[in-house]
Symmetry: C2
Subunit: 99 residues, 2 copies
DNA sequence: CCTATAGTTCGATTGTTGTCGAACTATTGG
DNA sequence: CCAATAGTTCGACAACAATCGAACTATAGG
C-alpha cells in the first residue's frame, strides 16, 4: 500500500533504461502498456508467476519507464511516455516501432 | 585474419541490440565510433585490458551495431549506422543523443 | 628470421539477473 | 471476521555476462 516512489526525470540513466528494455518479457509489457494505455499487473501476466512479474515491474519502475498508480488492491501501470520523451527524445518511439 | 561475418540487417534483433547497448563500456565505444567515424581497437581501449575490449567488440559486432574491417594487423571498427537506421529508425539517433 | 604490434581465444572467477515457489501484506466484499 | 483477490517479499537456484591474465595467431617492419 505504500505508494512507490518513481525516479525523477532528471535522474534517469540511459544505461538503466536500456538494460530495463533489453529483456523480452519487459519489452512485451512495454508493448502492451503502449497499446492498452494503462493496465494492472494481472492483465499483463502471461503464464508467468506473479513473483516474476513483480520483479519485472520493479525493474521498469526503478529505471523510470513505468509509473505505478495504486488504487485499492490493484496496481495500475502506465508508460511514463512524456517524461521519457523529454529526457530521451525518440527513444521510446524507436523501441515501440521495433516491437 | 579470417574476415568476420556480420549479421544481416534483416536478422537484427531488437533485444540483442538493446542488450549490446545496455553497458557503459560499450556505450562509450559507440559514442567514440560515432564521433571518430572509424577506429581501431587500440584507439578505443581506455585502461581496460585487450581481452575485455575484444569481448565488447564481439558483442557489438554480433548484435549488428558495429562493422569490423580488417586491414593488415588492425581492425577498423565503425557503426553500421545506415543499416541500423533502416532496421530501427531513430534508435541510434536517440541513443547517441543521450550519451 | 626475429621481433614488435594488434588483436583473439581460453579458462577461471565473480557478479548480476531471471525464475519461481512459498509465505506475507493489504484491500475489498460478504 | 473470514475469505478472496492483487500483488510483494524472501530465499534459493540456475543462467548469463563482465573482467582479466596468459597463451596464442597473424601481419608488418627491420
Amino acid at each position: 500500500m505504500p505508494a512507490y516512489d518513481h525516479p525523477d526525470l532528471t535522474t534517469l540513466d540511459i544505461v538503466s533504461v536500456l538494460r530495463a528494455l533489453a529483456d523480452p518479457v519487459r519489452l512485451d509489457i512495454v508493448k502492451r502498456l503502449h497499446s492498452m494505455g494503462e493496465a494492472n499487473c494481472a492483465a499483463l501476466v502471461g503464464k508467468r508467476p506473479k513473483s516474476s512479474m513483480s520483479h519485472h515491474f520493479q525493474v521498469l519502475r526503478e529505471s523510470g519507464i513505468v509509473h505505478t498508480r495504486i488504487e485499492g488492491v490493484q496496481h495500475h501501470n502506465s508508460l511514463r511516455r512524456q517524461e521519457l520523451d523529454e529526457r530521451f527524445p525518440g527513444l521510446m518511439a524507436a523501441v515501440l516501432a521495433a516491437i
